[in-house]
């Protein structure tokens, strides 16, 4: 199967299983990237508010999600 065929198949939901797996993988990818970037920003001294603004969420949301794991990281 060529790349284009695969793309059309997934996008056209002719193969929902593959399309749904792609959605799940994108979410996992986004979650992992977010965790890495938030940790780096905290190490570089960013405030929770600055991170929240970039992510388009509230400060409370980002602090609740990452406060325990990266809040006390010593730069």
């Amino acid at each position: 199967m060529t790349g284009t065929d695969t793309l059309l198949t997934a996008a056209g939901a002719a193969e929902p299983a593959e399309g749904l797996r792609a959605v799940r993988s994108l979410r996992t990818l986004a979650d992992r990237l977010e965790a890495l970037q938030v940790e780096r920003a905290r190490r570089q001294g960013w405030s929770w508010q600055q991170i929240a603004d970039c992510l388009g969420v509230t400060r409370q949301a980002v602090h609740k999600k990452y406060g325990k794991t990266t809040g006390r990281v010593v730069p």
């Binding site: 790349g3 695969t6 793309l7 198949t9 997934a10 996008a11 593959e18 399309g19 797996r21 792609a22 799940r24 993988s25 994108l26 979410r27 996992t28 990818l29 992992r32 990237l33 965790a35 890495l36 780096r40």
Partner: protein
């Protein structure tokens, strides 16, 4: 129980820790034992090679089951290999797989079951020692195991795996 394991099967059990850690797992699962069994040079590796599956393809299938599916992402035009290279250039090796700095020690119930089943497979096949072939047979013996689901996601039926182990043993004999 490990005194009955051959050296390659012992190596596989030891290596399963590293495989689990590299894939960001909190505990060692049956899929990590399976992957390690195929990484070490032995019957399991020969059997899967005979079926056209290498250790890297198996590792990719394990990652796919945990939410990072290379093929599914490729189907929407995302090249996970390119993403991984970029992320690792910035954050270090294994960053995208959330690799742990310290490998886990605890086995999941699923992994414990796989080791028990490997012992039973050794008894059933009337072999004194447990080798990686028994680990692979155990993987397809446990109906609900993550190891079996991983093999099945690669299109490998239980019978195909059993036959391939038989062929690999016959060759080794």
């Amino acid at each position: 129980m490990f005194e009955r394991f051959t050296q390659d099967a012992r190596d596989a059990v030891t290596r399963a820790r590293d495989e689990a850690g590299a894939l960001g797992a909190e505990r060692i699962g049956s899929e990590h034992v399976l992957l390690a069994a195929v990484r070490v040079d032995g019957v399991a590796q020969q059997a899967l090679t005979g079926l056209g599956i290498g250790a890297d393809a198996l590792a990719q299938a394990v990652r796919a089951r945990h939410g990072l599916d290379d093929d599914a992402l490729a189907s929407i035009g995302v090249d996970l290999g390119a993403v991984r290279a970029q992320v690792e250039a910035t954050f270090g090796e294994g960053a995208l797989d959330a690799a742990h700095r310290t490998a886990p020690r605890a086995l999941t119930p699923d992994a414990k079951k796989l080791l028990e089943l490997a012992l039973r497979e050794a008894i059933r096949t009337e072999r004194r020692r447990i080798d990686t072939g028994h680990l692979l047979l155990a993987a397809v013996r446990a109906p609900e195991s993550a190891a079996r689901a991983t093999l099945s996601s690669l299109g490998l039926s239980d019978d195909a795996v059993r036959d391939a182990v038989g062929v690999a043993w016959a060759r080794a004999a």
